[in-house]
């Protein structure tokens, strides 16, 4: 099995406050789902942000598909690892669902035909095909989350990190999300899900669990 993300002797501390995260060793495999669990404030999101390059470690290293994140720009990391924020509204900024989907391709002036088809396929697959012209401010929490996931998948990342994706979702939307995760795994993508919800942990009971407790990461 290919190692997607490898973390060695990682240390990080916020400038303000006395929180320190330390992760001596961590490997996340491609094609598998891993669960990152822990209580509120234990450092799960900090770990995810360090892996994605949003935060830079004060010690140790993070490698994504064999490349150290310290040598990669955020854009280069983003092409390999997609990150779903805890609050998906924070990563949606275009006026409508369709503009959101095609924002990057429009900006980079990519081939419009290909990106249009890809965007339409993704929206249909995630049950958002009918909402193309809807403003992102009028989407429900579940719809926003699926849209944020769609926008990430437009860039075809090989690995996904989802930060508490079930928070605020009703049963129906949670089931939709689990099915999406199954689909993504079948496509061979690697996924790390940050959660502390038992339902999700039980749903993916066989998945390796990474525990984060008071800034200490352990398998």
């Amino acid at each position: 099995m290919t190692v997607a993300i490898s973390v060695t002797d990682l240390v990080f501390g916020y400038q303000k406050g006395n929180f320190t995260l330390s992760c001596p060793h961590l490997r996340l495999e491609q094609g598998k789902l891993s669960l990152i669990t822990g209580a509120n404030g234990s450092g799960k999101t900090t770990l995810a942000k360090l892996i994605c390059g949003i935060l830079r470690p004060s010690g140790g290293s993070v490698q994504i598909f064999g490349q150290a994140t310290s040598e990669l720009s955020l854009g280069e990391i983003g092409r390999q690892v997609g990150y779903l924020f805890q609050d998906p509204s924070r990563q949606l900024f275009a006026g409508t669902v369709w503009k959101e989907m095609t924002f990057v391709d429009h900006l980079l002036e990519s081939e419009q035909g290909t990106s249009t088809k890809k965007a339409q396929d993704l929206l249909d697959r995630f049950g958002l095909g009918e909402l193309k012209s809807r403003s992102i401010y009028f989407l429900s929490g579940g719809e926003k989350q699926r849209l944020a996931l769609c926008t990430i998948l437009m860039g075809e990342p090989r690995f996904l990190i989802l930060d508490e994706p079930t928070v605020g979702l009703d049963k129906q939307n949670r089931v939709i999300l689990y099915d999406i995760l199954d689909d993504l795994l079948r496509e061979g993508r690697g996924i790390a899900v940050i959660t502390h919800e038992n339902e999700l942990i039980e749903r993916f009971a066989g998945a390796p669990q990474i525990k984060v407790e008071r800034g200490q990461v352990s398998l």
Binding site: G75, G78, G82, F93, A94, L108, I152, M154
Partner: protein, 244 residues
């Protein structure tokens, strides 16, 4: 000195910013800058945050300097390319004065940013400023970091979608910032509406008067300091009038 009454700090900020707007000649601006720096550190501004802010504004400062150097054609020419004067003495002086003006404004803002919001509100209340107005002002100031966070979140999210900002051309970057600005402002408006509803739900403005546990009092030191600042202000204005 950092526990000085907020009203004294506000008076000091008023003096510095007014001076920065009134003075146009370099020696006066340099003097004001010195006075401002002294106050900034005496009033306990966060030096690290100020340094960070200055570093962030540095490209803008350099651009302003460049614009002055290029477009002010009066004064003794200092540098030529062939026969054409590129840098003039007046251009340099005006550029430096404008830079100092921005620096003074940033320093003044740093002093107020380091002050406790509740103390500032209490000070406004003592100055008979309506609470609703002063509260709105503080909320507006508090929204600036929120606005900046929303903007940087959007940029991070965009980069994580595979966009390399450094590789974008200037035109594309400008187009991107233009496209991001509207949704970020809209987001701030949505947040402010939510805040308004929350405040109303908590009974804000329900009573005609508002009591506060925290009260600020001018001590003898504060009065002396205000007096000194007042005299300095008058002397500086008079001096500037007679020796501009």
């Amino acid at each position: 000195m950092s526990r000085v009454d907020p009203r004294v700090k506000l008076f000091w900020v008023m003096l510095c910013t007014s001076g920065a707007l009134i003075f146009v000649r370099l020696p006066w601006m340099a003097g004001l800058l010195l006075f401002c720096r002294l106050g900034t550190f005496s009033f306990g501004a966060d030096r690290k945050a100020l340094r960070g802010r200055l570093a962030r504004f540095l490209p803008l400062f350099l651009l302003i300097l460049l614009v002055h150097i290029v477009f002010v054609r009066t004064g003794t020419p200092l540098l030529f390319i062939r026969k054409y004067p590129i840098v003039t003495f007046d251009g340099l002086m005006r550029g430096a004065t404008t830079l100092m003006r921005f620096f003074i404004i940033l320093c003044s803002a740093a002093v107020m940013a380091g002050e406790n919001t509740r103390r500032v509100l209490a000070a406004f209340s003592k100055m008979k400023v309506p609470y609703l107005f002063s509260f709105m002002l503080m909320i507006a100031l508090r929204f600036l970091p929120t606005f900046s966070t929303s903007f940087s979140d959007a940029l991070i999210a965009l980069q994580l979608r595979g966009v390399e900002l450094k590789r974008l051309s200037l035109v594309k970057k400008l187009r991107l910032y233009r496209d991001l600005l509207l949704p970020v402002v809209a987001d701030a408006v949505v947040k402010s509406r939510v805040l308004a509803v929350v405040m109303e739900a908590r009974g804000f403005g329900a009573m005609p008067r508002r009591t506060s546990y925290l009260e600020v009092r001018m001590t003898l030191r504060d009065w002396v300091l205000t007096g000194v600042l007042f005299v300095l202000g008058i002397v500086a204005l008079g001096g500037y009038y007679f020796f501009p």
